[in-house]
Amino acid sequence: SQQGEEDPQALSIQEGENATMNCSYKTSINNLQWYRQNSGRGLVHLILIRSNEREKHSGRLRVTLDTSKKSSSLLITASRAADTASYFCATRGIKAAGNKLTFGGGTRVLVKP
């Protein structure tokens, strides 16, 4: 079963606009991560936020985490056509042995030039 659920499932925006996607999860976590997947390729790690952190930035990416609501958001600012991809959240549960991650179903983002 999926731990994380992304919302929306698909998003279409114009180049230069911001893209926001959300992730909800069910059980307590150690950390939450976001990945990008271009069509036909493997996933690429974008950013990791720990359970005791509330916000993290990396370039044009901003991630927030609200453990009380069991939710996270990924904001991509000033989007580019190259940001077109699927974005997945993944959680490492507190009770998960090792570093096993549980992935959500993803948000497909289309950035139109």
């Binding site: 990945y35 390729r41 493997g42 996933l43 090792g98 570093n99 096993k100 991650l101 992935f103 179903g105």
Partner: protein, 114 residues
């Protein structure tokens, strides 16, 4: 370029046949993982290995087996393929089995069982 190599890139396999998907990493990561990705279901963990010599079952292990004889290699074997195993398979690794580390993924193997 350092990373994970998966082979083959794609394969069409007759039902009932066996097949081994290969995964090799050159980053000396301790932990390795196999996921399958199906439309609408995201990625689901098949098997994992926290360190060489150990393996564990993930969410969907039935019909699959793995081995971890050394740090670099983590092959996934389908003993007798069935059509429901048609999927894209991703191998991944992380530096340590614990802690806060992201995964490095391979490019995937697209398997079609007919």
């Amino acid at each position: 370029t350092a990373g994970i190599t998966q082979a083959p890139t794609s394969q069409i396999l007759a039902a009932g046949r066996s097949m081994t998907l290969r995964c090799t990493q050159d980053m000396r990561h301790n932990a390795m993982y196999w996921y399958r990705q199906d439309l609408g279901l995201g990625l689901r963990l098949i098997h994992y290995s926290n360190t060489a010599g150990t393996t564990g079952k993930g969410e969907v292990p039935d019909g699959y087996s793995v081995s971890r004889a050394n740090t670099d290699d983590f092959p996934l074997t389908l003993a007798s393929a069935v059509p429901s195993q048609t999927s894209v398979y991703f191998c991944a690794s992380s530096d340590e089995a614990g802690g806060n580390y992201g995964y490095t993924f391979g490019s995937g193997t697209r398997l079609t069982v007919v």
